[in-house]
């Protein structure tokens, strides 16, 4: 069963098409990832699915409800963890959750047990009566995830759930997300621009410039690359490149001064390579393809690293400022 069905969703701003004719389905119970650089249209898509902004054209159904005409039913069906912090940091953890529970019409009798359950899930039960301002970034994120779960939504949207967090905290957040998937039948829709995190997803849509360029399981996407990747460094790069091209008739990519070739079976290819080449090779690396390679292959560019990190920095500052 498809819990999300997106049909030709488009969002245009004055001179920018943020999301361009996007269609896809998400199945009940899967972790579905939206992978792409900042500005690719990930958050805009989530905002439309969450009824926060209207699409310019196209529509989507969540839990069978139309995002344009049945907004209230859509809102009841989803939980959201936004990219930027959205807690009231003058309230305690429990007050934040109760506020949310009341807005989502959870009966008083069920409120306390549910608050307790979600706080225990994210290991914040001990801190239930602390003011949120005193929480670390990771704790706030966990609390937001707990809040998104309290009304037991059909779909949990996570917009860059680990952005701006340190590696340890990121790892923990993922533990909670995977625990959720194991213990409940919840569908999780997430966006990320961290390639390694996209690996956790059951299926990934790769999005660039507002369009989906591929949609499949991480394993299948990596198969597109057609095997392993060998990186070669040499003092005489040009000569090596020419020789490789001539000998194997393969496309040679150059990145940061390192030559890359894709081969079907890297372990067998390496000895052969050593025999064939006459140019001196300084270093060599053999690895299996990553989603980064898939992205590069599909879009012709890397997930814009510099841009991402700069924006991360801003976000991190915004998070810190969150203690207003």
């Amino acid at each position: 069963m498809n819990v999300i069905e997106v049909k030709n969703l488009t969002k245009k701003y004055k001179n920018l098409t943020a999301v361009n004719n996007v269609s896809f389905d998400v199945r009940q119970g899967e972790i579905f990832g939206f992978l792409g650089p900042n500005g690719a249209g990930k958050s805009t898509t989530i905002s439309m699915l969450a009824t926060l902004i209207s699409p310019t054209s196209g529509t989507a159904f969540i839990n069978g409800f139309n995002i344009n005409s049945q907004r209230d039913d859509v809102r009841k069906s989803i939980g959201l963890v936004f990219q930027d912090p959205s807690l009231d940091d003058r309230l305690t953890a429990r007050e934040n959750l109760c506020f949310h529970a009341q807005l989502y019409r959870i009966p008083k009798s069920q409120c306390d047990p549910r608050v307790e359950a979600v706080l225990k899930l994210v290991d914040l039960w001990e801190r239930r009566d602390s003011i949120v301002r005193t929480f670390s970034g990771g704790m706030k994120r966990r609390l937001e995830i707990a809040r998104g779960l309290i009304h037991q939504p059909k779909v949990l949207f996570l917009d860059e759930p680990t952005l701006g967090l340190d590696p340890q905290t990121r790892f923990n957040i993922w533990e909670y997300i995977l625990k959720l998937k194991r213990e409940s039948e919840m569908t999780i829709f997430m966006t990320t621009h961290y390639m390694n995190e996209a690996e956790y997803c059951d299926r990934i849509a790769i999005i660039d410039h507002g369009q989906i360029v591929a949609l499949d399981t991480p394993a299948n996407l990596k198969k597109m690359i057609g095997g392993d990747i060998i990186s070669l460094a040499s003092a005489d790069k040009e000569k090596l490149k020419a020789e490789l091209q001539e000998r194997y008739q393969k496309e040679i990519k150059e990145e940061d001064g390192v030559l890359k070739i894709e081969v079907t079976d890297g372990q067998k290819f390496l000895p052969q390579l050593f025999n064939d080449m006459t140019t001196k090779i300084d270093s060599i690396e053999l690895r299996e393809p990553t989603l980064e390679d898939v992205f590069l292959r599909l879009t012709g560019h890397q997930i814009r690293k510099e841009e991402a990190s700069e924006k991360d920095l801003m976000r991190r500052q915004a998070r810190r400022r969150g203690g207003h």
Binding site: T51, F82, R90, H100, Y104, R105, H324
Partner: protein
């Protein structure tokens, strides 16, 4: 029923935030005391001999309360701009809650805080020589609830259109002074030029000051004197405030519903 529960939830958060903010509580109590000191000790000695036929302090006092209500009501609605800036507004907007309930909940929060301030000022009135009967205090308090609601609605409408606290502050600065000086708080509006008079009639504070003055002075002033100082009967003032609130609340709901 759910509608009122949602209003209550939104309102309760505003109040919790207010109670946790010591600086705001402190200023709620300090501001009236400051007014009392300035008007009671300072102005009184120089202005007490007005030519209205009544004590100038008594003439001014409703205006002072109205001004203070306006300031607090406006300031309290800044919470919506903060919510937007700090992301919490999204949490509210994505909830299955009617936008009207959000708007009224927010307005009620500001109204509660502003009318608390009015109550403090009313209770302190005897200290600067304005004697008010206990029943009149009750009447005035009820009326200030209406006025606080109207002013808070306007504040919320502006807040819902503003993206940053800075722009909200600037707009408020620009609004507060003409609203106050063209409200009849300082001088009667019965003898101002036509165009100013038009502006003063769209100013909700005008009706607030007008009605509050009549309620306060009614029991202790000759009807003829009061008549000269007043614009409309009290029920017309209340009606005007109700219509004003209705229009502004509708506009605020529209602003909340906008999804660009």
């Amino acid at each position: 029923m759910y509608f009122f529960q949602a209003i209550y939830t939104i309102w309760r958060r505003e109040i919790i935030r207010y109670i946790r903010d010591r600086a705001r509580i402190f200023s709620t109590f300090l501001q009236p005391l400051m007014f009392l000191a300035i008007f009671g000790l300072g102005l009184r000695s120089t202005l007490a001999q007005g030519n209205f036929g009544i004590d100038f302090i008594k003439f001014m006092y409703p205006g002072i309360i109205a001004m203070s209500v306006m300031g607090i009501a406006f300031f309290s609605t800044v919470s919506t701009v903060w919510d937007r800036e700090f992301g919490f507004l999204k949490e509210i907007l994505v909830a299955p809650v009617p936008r009207v309930a959000i708007v009224i909940g927010k307005i009620s929060g500001a109204m509660t805080i502003a009318s608390t301030q009015a109550l403090i000022l009313l209770v302190l009135a005897p200290f600067i020589g304005v004697s008010i009967h206990i029943l009149t205090i009750v009447e005035l308090f009820l009326f200030f609830l209406v006025l606080s609601f109207a002013i808070s609605s306007l504040g919320l409408l502006i807040a819902s259109l503003m993206k940053t606290t800075e722009s909200f502050g600037v707009v408020m600065q620009v609004l507060i002074f003409p609203m106050f000086f063209l409200s009849g708080a300082f001088f009667p509006l019965t003898s101002i030029p036509g165009w100013l008079s038009v502006i003063s009639r769209i100013n909700p504070l005008t009706y607030g000051v007008d009605a509050a003055r009549q309620i306060l002075l009614g029991p202790q002033t000759p009807a003829a004197v009061l008549q000269k100082l007043s614009l409309y009967p009290i029920h017309i003032d209340i009606l005007a405030l109700a219509i004003f609130s209705l229009i502004v609340v509708s506009a605020a709901v529209w602003a909340f519903n906008r999804r660009d």
